[in-house]
């Protein structure tokens, strides 16, 4: 099967300062392959390089080095855009147009017949819940409504690959649910979705795979489950003690009691020792379960580590 998106050592430096002599690396040798039909989440804190990556893929900015192919075609080839949809971050559209006019304007670039344009625009406006505001100028739209029309214009021409930059941004819970449903619907249709987000529950719920980007560098790629199961934090043992029994002192200190039940958290390597202690105390084991970090824990740890590393670099550079 052909890869939908192949990113190869993609690097982008921005030149800062009045004379543009101070380079800052926004993206550092990103290499990724996304298969057709995948929902791929691109995670990272603000300034991680997510939007830079999407802009590079859409040809809005140019790479310092490296390259990428979408559906087998180089990103410099604009004919590839026939099969690609894009929702920019915090989208802003021509505010003198109505939603219907904007979609019609964009649809004209795909040489659709007037009848086909009318049909698609009507059903898309229904899909994103904007039918009642279809003939209102966009200058009267709220941020959430602009986000919805942004999603509509991205999928207007039924692209095979859809790039969404923070698609849930600015949406209320109902809007987020609707966009989630649209993404799932696109996935059912076999389309590839590449979206950046910092709303981790959405990524966990929607994505086949996620990549975590911090400071322009790729920190990890895998399914949300794979990423968080890289490291099992500890195990939790839930048990009850019969009347008159006492726990060994080491376990006593670690246990927390809720009603008649106790729970202890032990590192994986110490599980059997803890179980032996509980057997001696004639405890009734109710459950033993893994405590996995959530994607959010993983993400925060990566970001925290990167920030600490960055702080060390800065203080080291200053000495």
């Amino acid at each position: 099967m052909q890869a939908a998106i192949e990113i190869n050592e993609l690097t982008k430096d921005y030149c800062l300062g009045f004379w543009r002599k101070r380079p800052r690396r926004a993206l550092d040798g990103l290499t990724l392959t996304i298969e057709e039909g995948e929902v791929f989440g691109f995670l990272g804190p603000n300034g991680a390089g997510k939007t830079t990556t999407l802009k590079l893929l859409m040809g809005l900015i140019f790479p310092t080095s490296g390259g990428a192919r979408i559906l087998g075609r180089q990103i410099e080839d604009v004919s590839m855009h026939h099969d690609v949809g894009y929702l920019p971050e915090q989208p802003y559209f021509y505010d003198y147009l109505t939603a219907r006019e904007l979609l019609d304007y964009f649809a004209r670039f795909f040489r659709l017949s007037a009848e086909e344009r009318r049909r698609r625009i009507g059903s898309l406006l229904d899909l994103v819940g904007l039918s009642s505001a279809a003939d209102v100028q966009l200058r009267r739209y709220s941020k959430g409504m602009l986000q919805r029309i942004g999603v509509a214009q991205a999928i207007l021409h039924q692209p095979r690959v859809v790039f969404l930059d923070e698609p849930m941004s600015g949406l209320d819970p109902v809007g987020r649910r609707e966009v989630r449903d649209i993404i799932l619907d696109l996935k059912r249709q076999g389309r590839t979705i590449f979206f950046s987000t910092h709303i981790l529950p959405d990524a966990e719920m929607l994505c086949d795979r996620v990549a975590v980007l911090v400071g322009g560098k790729l920190q990890g790629v895998g399914s949300p489950e794979q990423i968080v199961s890289i490291e099992v934090e500890s195990l939790e043992v839930l048990f009850e003690l019969p009347a008159g029994s006492a726990l060994p002192p080491a376990l006593e200190a670690a246990a927390t009691q809720t009603g008649a039940r106790y729970r202890i958290q032990v590192p994986e390597a110490q599980l059997y020792d803890a179980l032996e202690g509980l057997r001696t105390a004639r405890a009734r084991i109710i459950s033993v379960s893994q405590l996995k970090p959530t994607l959010e824990d993983f993400f925060l740890r990566l970001v925290g580590g990167e920030q600490r590393r960055h702080a060390v670099e800065i203080s080291g550079g200053g000495s």
Binding site: M58, F62, H81, H82, G85, P91, F93, Q153
Partner: protein, 256 residues
Amino acid sequence: MIWVVAWNTFREAVRDRVLYNLIFFALLMIAATVLVGQISIGIEHLVIVNLGLTAISVFGLVMAIFIGVGLVYKEIDKRTLYALLARPLRRRQFLVGKYAGLLLTLAVNTALMTLGLAVALFYVSRTFVRSDLSILVAVYFILLKLALVTALALLFSCFSTPMLSTVFTLGLYLAGIFSTDIRSFGEVTESPALGAATKSLYYLLPNFNNFNAIAAAAYGRQIPLVLVAQNTAYAAIYITLVLLAAAAIFSNRNLK
């Protein structure tokens, strides 16, 4: 593709009430026709043609510069360009589309003002004569001039802020008006280097004097066809070169 962008640019100008300048032009023409009869006996035709063509030129120039300098900048600044360039649209197609859209706006605006001038002229003269055809040629020259100014404004809009682009475009326009004087200055100087420099400048700067046929039209002088052909060719070549430069700059520009 180009036509789709051009039509939207025209629609934007109309919805931004750009054509409201026609109201001022109409008021100016009405005032002129009323006043001219009282203060200039026998030269009403001359005054109306002079005033009308100058107004068409100035109104058009203001539009070409002030809209032209924002053509690309505004799209980048407001990030409306992002979703647009995600279509199968080349940057140079976008650029030519924006240019054609503003040109269409200017053409419609100029056509309506010319109609206003014709009405005013008919009001004071009660007839049209054959020599009035030179007014149409003068209007065509104004359009060529506006097309050239718009191309320059678009070029600056590709890499500069509207404020600086306005200064650059206006500066080039003024320099272009005086390009013949610059050459004459070089011819009287004794320094060969200065002579060569002024001669180069003369050929490099757009010569806007070529497009001024207002006096000829006002006096009913016939404008030779060869001049029409020369001016058309000059404008076409100059505009093509400017648009090629704009496309080269814009096609390699990182959008913020």
